[in-house]
C-alpha cells in the first residue's frame, strides 16, 4: 500500500482514494520521511479501510505516532458528516477517554531529585496500579451514575480537585448528554471498584523536569517558567467501565451494520448511522465513560498532591500543584470546525484546537512534550495532533528482546527511578519499543498542526 503514497511536502503525504477500490475519500499522513519509513504498510492499509465508511469526510488522517491497530491504526482521526455519517465504537476503541493530565509544581529539579527515592515509592503506595491492585474508593450505583453524568463536577463536590482543575480539562471535565441508562449493568459493576486506579499496559505516572522551553510566552500562561521546574504527567483511562461499554456497543453496532446494510472492509470497524438508536445510544454511553475517566484522573491527581504534601511537608497549593491541562486520546466528539459540525473520532490522537494545549507522551526513558494547537490543525486534521511517540515493536517482540530488570537498570543509569507492579510491564514498555518522540514531534511541529512549547525529561516513573 505504501507504494501508492504521494508526497505533498516534507511533512504531508497523500494516499489517494484510488488506492483501494471502495475508498470514498483520500487519506493523508502527517510525518517526516524518517517516521513515514517506520509506519507499517498494513497500518496504511487500515487508513484506506476507514476511508470506505459511509459519510466519511475527506481526508482520513494518519498522525506520526500511528501504528497498526485492530480495525484502524492508533494515531488516526476520522470525521463523519453529522447527518449522513456514522458513529463507531470500533473507531473509538476499548479505552474510552484514555488521556493525560499534566500537573505543574513550583518545585525545582534539585528539590525533587533529593527526595525522589522517597517520593516514587510513596506515590506507588498512594496510586493503585496494575491488574492485581484494588481501588481505595468503593462507590454505590447511585454515586457511580453521578460520576458518569457529572464528571469533574462530582469530583470537586466530593473533595477531589478544585474548580481550577475543571477549567483546565477538555470539555470542562464533563461531556453533557451522558446517559447512564445506556450503560450495561456489567459495565457499571466493573466501574464500581475501579475509580481512582491507574490500570496497566501503557498507563503511567511520571515525574518530569522541564528541559527546554520553546515558546516562553505560552509556557508562562501554563505556569511553566523555569527550565528546572518539575511537572507530573498522569496517563490512564476509563478502566473496566469503558472497556465494557466498548465491548457491549461493538456487538450492538455489529448488528447495526447488518440492519442498516453498511459495507465494512473490516469487522472491527463496527458502526451505526449517526442518527440511529445504535449510534446515539453508543454516544450517550461513551460520554459516561469519558466523564468517569476525567474523574478517575482527577481523583488520582488529588492523591498525588496529598503524597507530595507528605513528602515535602508543604500544602499542595503552596507547591502550586495546579492542572496545566487534561486531555482525551480516544474519543468521539461532535466538533464544530470551520462552521461545520462533524463527529470526529480520535483514536490515539489529541485535540489540537488553536491556542489550546496538546500533550504528547514520550516513553519512560525519553522526553515528553507540551505543544499548542493551531488554526492549521483545524484546516488540515480536524483540529487534531499526535498523542505519543507510537509503538514500533509488538509486546511479544519486546518480551523477547528486553528484560524488565535490565530496562530499570538502564533507566537508573540515566537518573530515572522506575517502579512497576511487575517487571514484565517494564520490558513491554521499554523505550526501545517506541518511535523516536523527537521525530514525531518534529513532524507535527513542522507540519504546523501543533507547535512545540515545552519539553520535559522523566525523573521518576510508575507503571501498572
Amino acid at each position: 500500500m505504501k507504494e501508492k503514497i504521494q508526497k505533498i511536502n516534507d511533512y504531508e503525504w497523500l494516499l489517494p482514494k484510488t488506492a483501494q477500490e471502495k475508498m470514498n475519500v483520500d487519506a493523508k499522513i502527517f510525518a517526516n520521511k524518517a517516521i513515514l519509513d517506520l509506519i507499517e504498510d498494513s497500518a496504511v492499509g487500515q487508513l484506506t479501510n476507514v476511508a470506505c465508511l459511509p459519510g466519511i469526510i475527506e481526508p482520513v488522517i494518519g498522525l506520526p505516532d500511528m501504528h497498526f491497530g485492530y480495525g484502524l491504526p492508533m494515531g488516526a482521526v476520522s470525521a463523519f458528516d453529522s447527518k449522513e455519517g456514522v458513529i463507531s465504537a470500533g473507531l473509538c476503541g476499548f479505552d474510552i477517554n484514555c488521556g493525560i493530565n499534566s500537573i505543574r509544581t513550583n518545585l525545582t529539579f534539585k528539590e525533587v531529585n533529593e527526595k525522589l527515592k522517597e517520593l516514587v515509592p510513596a506515590l506507588f503506595n498512594a496510586i493503585p496500579c496494575g491488574v492485581g491492585s484494588k481501588g481505595k474508593l468503593r462507590l454505590g450505583y447511585d454515586e457511580l451514575d453521578n460520576v458518569m453524568t457529572h464528571g469533574l463536577n462530582w469530583a470537586v463536590e466530593n473533595g477531589y480537585g478544585t474548580k481550577r482543575d475543571i477549567e483546565k480539562t477538555e470539555e470542562n471535565g464533563c461531556m453533557p448528554g451522558a446517559d447512564p441508562s445506556k450503560v450495561s449493568d456489567l459495565a457499571k459493576k466493573r466501574g464500581l471498584p475501579q475509580l481512582g486506579t491507574l490500570g496497566a499496559g501503557n498507563h503511567f505516572l511520571e515525574i518530569q523536569k522541564v528541559s527546554d522551553i520553546f515558546d516562553k510566552e505560552y509556557a508562562k500562561k501554563l505556569g511553566i517558567v523555569d527550565k528546572d521546574q518539575v511537572l507530573i504527567m498522569l496517563h490512564c483511562g476509563s478502566r473496566g467501565l469503558g472497556h465494557q461499554i466498548a465491548t457491549d456497543y461493538l456487538k450492538i453496532q455489529e448488528r447495526a451494520v447488518k440492519k442498516y446494510n453498511i459495507w465494512l472492509p473490516d469487522r472491527q470497524l463496527a458502526c451505526a448511522p449517526v442518527n440511529s438508536e445504535e449510534g446515539q445510544d453508543y454516544y450517550k454511553a461513551m460520554k459516561c465513560a469519558v466523564n468517569y475517566s476525567f474523574t478517575n484522573r482527577l481523583v488520582m491527581t488529588q492523591w498525588i498532591r496529598e503524597t507530595f504534601e507528605r513528602v515535602f511537608k508543604k500544602s499542595w497549593e503552596d507547591m502550586d500543584m495546579q492542572t496545566v491541562y487534561a486531555i482525551c486520546h480516544n474519543v468521539v466528539k461532535l466538533d464544530k470546525i470551520k462552521g461545520r459540525e462533524y463527529y470526529v473520532h480520535r483514536k490515539g490522537a489529541t485535540r489540537a484546537f488553536p491556542e489550546l494545549p496538546v500533550i504528547v507522551a514520550g516513553t519512560m526513558g525519553t522526553a515528553s512534550y507540551i505543544c499548542k494547537g493551531t488554526e492549521l490543525a483545524l484546516e488540515k486534521t480536524f483540529g487534531s495532533s499526535c498523542h505519543g511517540s507510537g509503538r514500533a515493536m509488538s509486546r511479544n517482540a519486546a518480551l523477547r528482546q528486553f528484560r524488565g530488570e535490565k530496562v530499570n537498570d538502564e533507566l537508573r543509569q540515566k537518573g530515572i527511578i522506575g517502579k512497576a507492579g511487575n517487571w514484565k510491564s517494564f520490558a513491554e514498555e521499554a523505550p526501545g519499543c517506541y518511535k523516536d518522540v523527537e521525530q514525531v514531534v518534529d513532524s507535527v511541529h513542522n507540519a504546523g498542526i501543533s507547535l512545540k512549547v515545552v519539553r520535559m525529561k522523566p525523573l521518576g516513573v510508575l507503571k501498572g
Partner: protein
C-alpha cells in the same frame, strides 16, 4: 500439540493461537492463553470457583463472549483464574466451572481491555480446532 502460542501481528496488542482436539479443549486453552496475559496462571491456586453459562450466535461469537466473561469476572470478583472446566459445549452454548484465587500484585500480569474482532477466526483443520484471537492491551 501445544495448547496455545502467542503470535506476531499486532504492534500494541497481543494475538494468540489456541488449539484443541475438540471445542471443549479449544475453549479451555483459549481461556488459559488469555489468563496467562492477565496473571501468572501457573501459580494461581484454585481456591474459589464460579459457574459460567453463556450463549453465542456462532462459535466465534461464543468464544468472544467466553473470553469477555473471564475479563469481566477478573474486575467484578477480583479473582485471577487458572483452571477452566468446560462442562457442556455446543456451537452456541457453553457451561463451565472456572477456578482461581483473589487478585494480588505478586501474581499480576497486564490488564486486557477487550477481545477484538480483528482477524478473529475458529478453524477446523482435519480433526483439530484452531482459534486465532487478538486482545486489546
Amino acid at each position: 500439540m501445544e495448547n496455545y502460542k502467542f503470535i506476531e501481528g499486532l504492534t500494541s496488542d497481543v494475538m494468540f493461537e489456541a488449539y484443541g482436539k475438540n471445542l471443549e479443549e479449544l475453549f479451555k486453552n483459549s481461556a488459559l492463553a488469555l489468563s496467562s496475559v492477565i496473571c501468572d496462571v501457573k501459580n494461581v491456586k484454585k481456591e474459589r470457583s464460579f459457574s459460567v453459562d453463556l450463549k453465542g450466535s456462532s462459535t466465534e461469537d461464543l468464544m468472544v463472549n467466553w473470553l469477555q466473561e473471564i475479563i469481566a469476572l477478573v474486575d467484578t470478583e477480583e479473582i485471577f483464574f487458572s483452571r477452566f472446566d468446560i462442562t457442556e459445549i455446543s456451537e452456541n452454548n457453553l457451561k463451565a466451572k472456572i477456578y482461581g484465587e483473589p487478585i494480588s500484585p505478586e501474581k499480576a500480569g497486564v490488564v486486557v481491555k477487550g477481545v477484538t474482532y480483528y482477524k478473529l477466526k475458529i478453524e477446523k483443520i482435519r480433526n483439530n480446532y484452531k482459534a486465532t484471537i487478538s486482545l486489546d492491551i
